[in-house]
Every structure is written in structure tokens, then in C-alpha cells.
Symmetry: C3
Subunit: 284 residues, 3 copies
């Protein structure tokens, strides 16, 4: 495999001109941060302009983590000051919208935790294969925020109103088996087999005609993608809620419990947030 | 727990200012009737105006029944003469529309039968947890009626066209396991554990920020709720079909088989209606 | 049972005025071809005008096959020259649109393979019961085509974006169990029981009031059917892609492997196409 790019966070290996594997790598738990936003925008630009590229697999080599979530220590001013992407949306959303509309199939191979922004990322890809070690979730409600990357719009359409509300209002960890039962992921593949399974599936698509793949996606997009302004309303709700000073003490409590470290509260973050909130020691 | 209100049919217990439990109680099988409509409207008014209320659990203590269905002995003139609710819709629908749009999470904990209007009620709540004893269904087709409280609109979006049509055109009983496989309920929780499970889930949400909960719901609403006029068309179809004199003899046959009594045909009402119709003794 | 019609491909048996069983029969693997289009249009005309007909079951007696797929040896000029049906759409689509909107319930009883056009047919019926011997799929991507009969629009709404894209971009065989888990079919019924099961279900509906059945369908249609122009765009994409000369050599390779014969590549057609494409012997 040729290494096409060795950007800091997205390691791209071209298995062939029609099939790329992208390994995400950002710290011990794979946080998403402002650099992720910039680098993902570049990666999407590149994918959009690869004439033969038909399928892209996103994966992680980080034990236990696909993409933990957004980095709570990020520079908010930098994020607020980012210029809109090609869709006219803030680049955090612009990335996800363009990711969904790529003229190539995108597959998330999920063998660990992917919550918050990580869940929003996998929801923006086309297909989600998960091993029994995957844990998904949108815990934002537990830190006083409306999620910003579109899960109300996407989960509402993907898993139906009842299960979307359970996931989003409960904010709890969703283990792989429940995620598959709910349709949050396509299906579970045993962890020992998922690399081969995903690779075989990707090689099928890589052998197909890109015009057919892109043509099919375009019509599924019409049937299933939320309108951009619905997503934009979600990001506005995120900035309005996540920016409130009231939540800072609770986030500091999470850091004192090991937030963003592989051996701390991250293991069962969704569940733990609900328990800490009920103790009420710190008002979020 | 403080008893907030002891209205005839909806017994409200405030576990805390952010968490209420509402127990429905109307006769031996928990029928819905014109009084239910009036009292539910009042309850929804109250919930809308409780500034801290973040989660409401609906439940039943009636063995075998959550909400059986609409009372066939109701005063139809009273129902026809009811004044529109705040949405401009007939209060039967207005209740369900406002229930779905409450700025608090609503959970139906279903341990028994909930059919017809009872199914419409749980579909208007956000989240449905069912025990293995739950039985759902929309048997209206079996008594010559189009269901009036929105299940075409809601089930069509929740479980997909194929399963919605099976439920609505077959009119059969849908046991808990099938309901969970179809997404009619979120999931099954063992009957011995469901009170604790629902309570733990509700306590999580009760500890969260109401602004975040309400903000999330508002955006899931955009993605998943049917437009009001689609629901209004359903209620018009109900009045047009259920009001036909042709169905009266069959309803009387059902009463002679124990309709609206806990020990009669109610046990397997959906299935039984289909069997009686095929005997053809009485034209509905 | 009275034989209402013995058209070449659709054998109609009237179990009663309200219940018809239609057995599809076209060659050893039940291909769909231009004659199928003409005869299905006639059948739908007939069903539309039967005042008492309330439920129609579609089935096959062909071992291993419900409807294999579109006949690759069809006269394309004849297809291109077909006059629009009553909806203004090409009759291939017009049939499926009118099938979905019939004022009677339609059920596909699937005990064998139904791929491509066969999958599009069952997706246009209301309810899909499958035995463990059923295999579904949309392999068109593997022969360089966008499927033309609406599966992007229908599967996108039925099983959600992720699973629809897996089915449509992977082009692989979807065995019954996975199809049921994804909601592609309503549920699995053991092969030894499915004739009885479907018959019992159909007899229930046949005993119900047609006004109620048609009224329910009309409102589920509003909630779940794609707009006609979305389907029309799909058929245009099919003609634009399937008409390219580039795919002819690969189709000939499939014929040399037994395409359209019961003992050849048809057994695992979806899987086999992916494997042959990867061998790359012949560019599709």
C-alpha cells in the first residue's frame, strides 16, 4: 500500500486508486479538535478530486477508541472564527455534509468508543460496521449541550423518533449490540473478523463502476439526507448551549475523573456522566 | 413523592420538580373516553407550564392493561362537539400533538395491552419501554374504521411502510417481542425489572439541563414529526368511517363476547376480531 | 378457487371476491421481461377495477426463485418505445407506482431469490413475508447500472440510509435473516409454514371493510411513498447507465457462467458478480 498522505491525524493508505483506507490518529483516545476540522476538510477536498476513488474505509488502531469525542480543551475562539466551507456552513458541519455527499462509498469500521463528535462523524459516513467492542453515544445532553453535528437530523431519520430520542435524551452509552438492534450501526461483525470483513466489502465496491456508485448515492441522498438548514439549526443550538459558563464546573469535575485519558472516565463516559449529574455535587 | 394532582384518571406523583410519574387509571381495563380527553388536555397544560419538569413517565397499575382502547360506549355527540385545542385541532388529536412537542421527555412504560387509542397514546410519547407482557395493536380496521389518532403518520415514519401496513391492515395483536423487532417499541425490558429500569433512565434525564433536553427534542421533532394536517386528515377519515351505522352489529357482537371487560375478548382482542369477522355471522 | 385469468405470466386465482392469489411464472428462474411489463399493467388495471378485492398475495411455485431479475436478453428498443402509463411514467415504473397505491393490500410471499427488478417488485408491494430460503438484493451496481425501479427511494425510506447504501453499493446477496434484521422484509416465517401463515393473514384482511383498508393505505402512502419524480429520476439514471456499451462484455461473461439458468451463477448471483469483477478478467 502506498502512503498517500501522512497528515498528522488522518493516515491515508491507497490500497488501489479506487480504494483508500484512512486511519484516524489523534492522541491516546482519538479526540477531535480544531486541527481535525482543518485536516478533514483537506482530506475531503482530496477525495472529491480523485477521479477513480470509489470507496474509503475509516478506521482506528487506537485500542478501545475509534474517535472519543470533541476535545473539551479546544480553543473555542479558533472554532468560532473558522470560515465557512464550500457549502456555506461552518467547516465542522461542512465537513460532515460533504462527507455524506462524496461520490464514493464511505465506511466506518468501528472497534471501540465513538461518542459525541465521533458519533456524528460515523453518522456522516455511508455505512457503519461495528465489532462487539464498539460503544456509541451522544452524551452532550449530560454536559448541558445540544449536539452540534447533526445527530438529531440523522438519527431521527436512521433509527426512528423513539430510539433517536432515547439515545439523545438519555445520553447513555449505546453498546454495539443495542446499536445494531436500533440501526445506529448497520450490523455487528466479530472483532476478530471485522478487518477482513470490511476489506472484502470495500474490495467489492472498489471493483465496481464509479459512475454507478456515485449515481446510486445521489438518489439515496435525495431520499435520506437532511436539508442543510436543519443541520445548521443544530449547530446554532450547540453553540448557544455549549457556550454557557454554567457547564464549566461539571466539565472540570469530569477532567478530575480522567476525562480524555484512556484509563479514566472515558471507559464508560456516557453512563458515568448521568451518575455524576445525579450526585449533584457540581451543577453543570 | 408528593401527590400533585389526583384527577380521576391521571394520578400524578412528583418524584422531584424535574421528574413526574403519571399512573393512568380508568376502569378495569383502562379505557380512554371523553373524560380522558379533557383530563389529558389539562395534564398537558400543567406539564407545559412546569418550569423545571424535564421527564414524565406514563404507567399503569392495572394488571394486563396499559390503556385498552377507546370506550365504544362513549357519547359520540360530546366528542363531536368538543372545541379545538390550542393547535386548532380537535382535542383528541391536539392532546397527542402537544404531548409529542412537550419541552420534557415523555416515556411510556408498557406492561400490558395498549391498543387503538392506547397505541396512539404511546406513539405520541417520546420513548416506549415494554415488558414481555405488553401487547400493542391497531385493530380499528377490524371494526371498519381508519384509526384517528395518527398511527398511519407515526408508524409509517417509525417502523417503515411495510411493517406499518402489516400492523394497520392486519389489525392483529402485536406481542412485545415483535413490537421491539419492528421498532414499534424501543426495546423489551423484563417485567420484573422494567419499573427500576424506567426509573433509572428517567432519573438520568431528570438530572440534565432542561434547556438541552428541550433543544434536542425540538430538532428531533423537525426530523421526525408528521405535519399537523396529515394527522387532521387521519382524524377526518376516522370520523367518516367509524360513524357508519354498518359497524354497530359487529361491535355489539364484541360486547356480547366480553368487550371492555378484563376477562373477556380483551385478552386477545386483535386476533379475536379477525376470527369473528371471518365467521361472518355479523357484518360489521 | 376460480381461475380468473391465465395470462402467460401472472396466474390469478380468486379465493373469493375479496382475496386473490397471483402466481408468477416466467421460465425456469422467473425473469421479468417486456411481456411482464405489459401483463402486469393489465393485471393492475384489473385489480384497480375489482370493487370487492381487498387483498392480493403474490407468490411463486418456481423452486428457488420468486422473480430472478430483469431478462438481460430483452429487446431494449421495445422497452424504450413503451408508451407512458396512467401516471405519465414509463410503464416499468408506472406499474410499481400503481401497485403501491392500489386500494387493496398487497403481500409478497418470498420463498426464493428475488433480485434487481424482482426486489423492486416486492418493494412496490405493501408487505413482504419471507421464508429462510429467500434471498434479496440489488446487484445492478455490479453490472455498471443504477437500479431503475425505485430502490434508492424505497429502501432509503424503509431501512434507513446506512443499510440502504450497504445493499445498493455492495450489490451483494442479502439472505432472509439479514433482510429481516434490516427491515428489507417484514419478517421471516419458516418455509414449511409460510403458505399457511400468509393465507391466514390474507384471510383476515379479506374479511375487513375495503373502505377502511383503502383509507388506511392512503394515509400510510402520504407518510411513506416517495414522490413520482424521485422515482422518475431513478429510471433515467438506469437508462443512462445500463445503456452503456461498456457493460456488454461482462454481461456476456455472466451468461457464459450460467446467467438466467437455474443451475448456474444465479444461485449466488450478487456475491458472484463481485468476485468476477475483482478478477478483472473482463471490464464491465
Amino acid at each position: 500500500m502506498a502512503i498517500v498522505s501522512a497528515a498528522e491525524q488522518f493516515h491515508v493508505s491507497a490500497v488501489s486508486p479506487s480504494y483508500w483506507r484512512v486511519t484516524f490518529d489523534n492522541g491516546p483516545v482519538n479526540l477531535l479538535d480544531p486541527d481535525t476540522v482543518d485536516q478533514l476538510a483537506e482530506l475531503i477536498d482530496t477525495i472529491e478530486n480523485e477521479p477513480e476513488l470509489t470507496v474509503v474505509v475509516f478506521r482506528s488502531d487506537k485500542p478501545g477508541y475509534f474517535m472519543a469525542h470533541w476535545d473539551f480543551r479546544s480553543d473555542n475562539n479558533r472554532v468560532a472564527g473558522m470560515r465557512p466551507g464550500p457549502t456555506g456552513l461552518h467547516p465542522y458541519l461542512d465537513n460532515f455534509v460533504r462527507l455524506s455527499r462524496l461520490p464514493a462509498a464511505t465506511i466506518s469500521q468501528i472497534r471501540g468508543r465513538t461518542r459525541g463528535a465521533g458519533s456524528e462523524f460515523v453518522l456522516a459516513t455511508d455505512i457503519r460496521f461495528a465489532s462487539e467492542r464498539a460503544i456509541l453515544g451522544q452524551f452532550e445532553v449530560g454536559v448541558d449541550a445540544v449536539p452540534g453535528g447533526g445527530p438529531m437530523a440523522r438519527l431521527g431519520r436512521l433509527v426512528g423518533r423513539g430510539r433517536a430520542l432515547e439515545i439523545l435524551l438519555g445520553g447513555d452509552d449505546i453498546p454495539a449490540e443495542l446499536a445494531a438492534a436500533y440501526g445506529y450501526v448497520n450490523r455487528i461483525v466479530p472483532d476478530a473478523e471485522i478487518e477482513d470483513f470490511t476489506d472484502r466489502f470495500a474490495r467489492r465496491i472498489a471493483a465496481f463502476d464509479k459512475v454507478a456508485v456515485a449515481g446510486i448515492k445521489k438518489l439515496v441522498d435525495v431520499a435520506t439526507l437532511p436539508p442543510d438548514d436543519e443541520l445548521a439549526a443544530g449547530l446554532r443550538a450547540y453553540f448557544a448551549t455549549a457556550g454557557r459558563p454554567q457547564r464549566r464546573p461539571f466539565v472540570e469535575l469530569l477532567f478530575s475523573n480522567g476525562l480524555q485519558r484512556p484509563d479514566g472516565i472515558e471507559a464508560d463516559l456516557g453512563t458515568a456522566i448521568g451518575e455524576l449529574r445525579q450526585k449533584g455535587a457540581v451543577t453543570a
